[in-house]
C-alpha cells in the first residue's frame, strides 16, 4: 500500500464517517405545512375549474402549485408568464427589505418604495384558506411574528409592516377580482402566492430576530 492509497483511504474514511444528517436549529414543519396549506386551498379552488382552465404549473416556478393526486396541464406558458409578471410587484416589495436586512447601514437612506397603498376594507382582507389547520398555523406564526417585530429597529419594523401591508393589499385586490371571476386560474394562483409571501415574511422576521446561531455545519 503506497502513500497515496493510504492518504486517500484515510480521506475516504473521514468522508464516510461524516453523518449525512444535520439537524435543523428549529422545526421547519410548521412553515412547510403552512405552505402546503396554501397549496391545498388553491387546489380546492381549482377543483371546481374545468381541466382546460386549470393548468398544472411547474413546481420549479415557485409561483403555482399542485398537490399530490392532481393532474392536468394545458397551455402553461401564457398563464405562467402572466402570473410571473404579476408577481414581480410582490417580489419587489420584499426585495428592499431583504437588501436592508443584508446592509442595514444603507437602509435608512434608501428612497421610499413604490408600493400600492393598502386599501381599507370592512373585513379581514387576508382571511386565508378556510381550513382549521391553516388558520391555526397562520395564527401561531403571526403571534410569534408580532412578538419578534417589536424587537426590530423602528426603521426596519416600519419597512416590514409596509411590505406586509403591500402583500395584504395585493391579497385584497386579488380577492376582489376573484369575486368577478371566481374561476380564474391566474387569480387563484396569485392569491396563493400572496399567502406564500406572507409566510415567507413571517419566517424571515422570526428567523432574523432570533438569537444568533453558529454558521458552521461542523
Amino acid at each position: 500500500m503506497n502513500m497515496k492509497e493510504t492518504s486517500r483511504r484515510s480521506l475516504d474514511q473521514r468522508l464516510a464517517a461524516l453523518d449525512p444528517e444535520i439537524a435543523t436549529d428549529r422545526d421547519l414543519w410548521p412553515s412547510i405545512v403552512a405552505k402546503i396549506g396554501a397549496s391545498d386551498a388553491l387546489e380546492g379552488s381549482l377543483d371546481a375549474i374545468p381541466p382546460e382552465a386549470a393548468p398544472e404549473f411547474s413546481a420549479h416556478t415557485g409561483s403555482a402549485h399542485t398537490g399530490p393526486a392532481r393532474a392536468g396541464s394545458v397551455r402553461r406558458w401564457p398563464l405562467a408568464l402572466a402570473a410571473g409578471f404579476a408577481l414581480v410587484a410582490l417580489v419587489g416589495a420584499l426585495f428592499g427589505w431583504q437588501v436592508a436586512r443584508l446592509r442595514p447601514a444603507t437602509f435608512a437612506s434608501s428612497p421610499p418604495p413604490v408600493f400600492t397603498k393598502p386599501q381599507p376594507t370592512d373585513r379581514d382582507p387576508f382571511a386565508g384558506p378556510e381550513t382549521e389547520s391553516f388558520r391555526a398555523t397562520r395564527a401561531s406564526l403571526e403571534q410569534t411574528y408580532q412578538q419578534r417585530l417589536a424587537l426590530l429597529a423602528p426603521a426596519t419594523r416600519h419597512r416590514v409592516e409596509q411590505d406586509l401591508a403591500t402583500i395584504r393589499a395585493a391579497n385584497a385586490d386579488i380577492r376582489k377580482a376573484l369575486e368577478a371571476d371566481p374561476q380564474s386560474a391566474v387569480l387563484n394562483h396569485l392569491l396563493a402566492s400572496t399567502l406564500h409571501e406572507e409566510f415567507d415574511l413571517y419566517t424571515a422576521v422570526i428567523r432574523n430576530s432570533a438569537p444568533a446561531v453558529p454558521r458552521s455545519p461542523s
Binding site: 492518504s7 480521506l11 444528517e21 428549529r26 421547519l28 414543519w29 412547510i32 420549479h60 399530490p68 461542523s218
Partner: protein, 194 residues
C-alpha cells in the same frame, strides 16, 4: 421532471427505513395524507438539511432549501413512481433547490459562484493551521464542493452527480479529484499527484 435512476445509497442507507414501510408512507402521502407526509419529513429532514447545508454553505439558505424541497415533494408526489428510492428522488429535488438558492445567494452577495476557487485553492496550498473536515469542505470552491458532497458523502455516482449538477461526467471526476487534492492539502494529509 427528470427520469429516475437506479436505486442509490445502498452503502449509505444502513439506517434507511424499511422499504415496504417507506413505500406505504409515500403512497399514503401521495393520496393526500398529511400525517404520512409529516412522517416522511421527520424521517428525511436531517439528511436533506445536511445536503442543503453542505451544498449552500449557508444555514438560513439551507433551511429555505429544506422547506422548498418538501413543499415541492408534496406537490410532485403524484409523479413519484417508485422506480428509485424515495431518498434519491427527494435528494434530487434538494440538490436543485440548493443550487438554485446558492446561485441567488451568490448574486445577492455579488460573489459569483466560481469566484472563490483561486482563493480556496491558495488556501489549500498555503494552508495555515489544519481545519476540521467540515470546515475544509465548506471552504472548497463551489464546483469541487458540490461534487464531493454528492459523491463523497451522499453516495451519488459520478453519472448521477453530473446529471444533477448539469456537468459532464468527466468534469465530475475532475472536480472530485480536485476536491480531494485540496482537502488533503488543507488537512495536511500527504497525497501524491496522479
Amino acid at each position: 421532471m427528470r427520469a429516475e435512476a437506479v436505486v442509490l445509497f445502498d452503502a449509505k442507507d444502513a439506517m434507511a427505513p424499511d422499504p415496504a414501510d417507506e413505500l406505504n408512507t409515500v403512497s399514503a402521502a401521495a393520496g393526500g395524507d398529511r400525517g404520512a407526509f409529516e412522517r416522511l419529513y421527520r424521517r428525511h429532514a436531517g439528511r436533506v438539511h445536511g445536503l442543503c447545508l453542505r451544498l449552500t454553505g449557508h444555514r438560513e439558505t439551507a433551511e429555505d432549501c429544506v422547506q422548498e424541497t418538501f413543499v415541492q415533494a408534496w406537490r410532485g408526489l403524484d409523479r413519484f413512481q417508485g422506480r428509485s428510492a424515495f431518498t434519491t428522488w427527494l435528494h434530487r429535488i434538494a440538490v436543485n433547490a440548493a443550487l438554485s438558492r446558492r446561485r441567488r445567494l451568490a448574486q445577492t452577495l455579488e460573489t459569483g459562484a466560481e469566484t472563490a476557487p483561486d482563493e480556496a485553492e491558495r488556501a489549500g496550498v498555503d494552508a495555515a493551521p489544519p481545519l476540521d473536515l467540515e470546515a475544509a469542505i465548506a471552504a472548497l470552491p463551489d464546483g469541487a464542493r458540490h461534487v464531493l458532497v454528492l459523491v463523497g458523502i451522499y453516495g451519488f455516482s459520478h453519472a448521477e452527480a453530473a446529471e444533477s449538477l448539469d456537468i459532464a461526467v468527466g468534469t465530475s471526476k475532475a472536480q472530485f479529484h480536485r476536491a480531494r487534492r485540496l482537502l488533503a492539502a488543507r488537512l495536511e494529509l500527504p497525497l501524491e499527484e496522479s
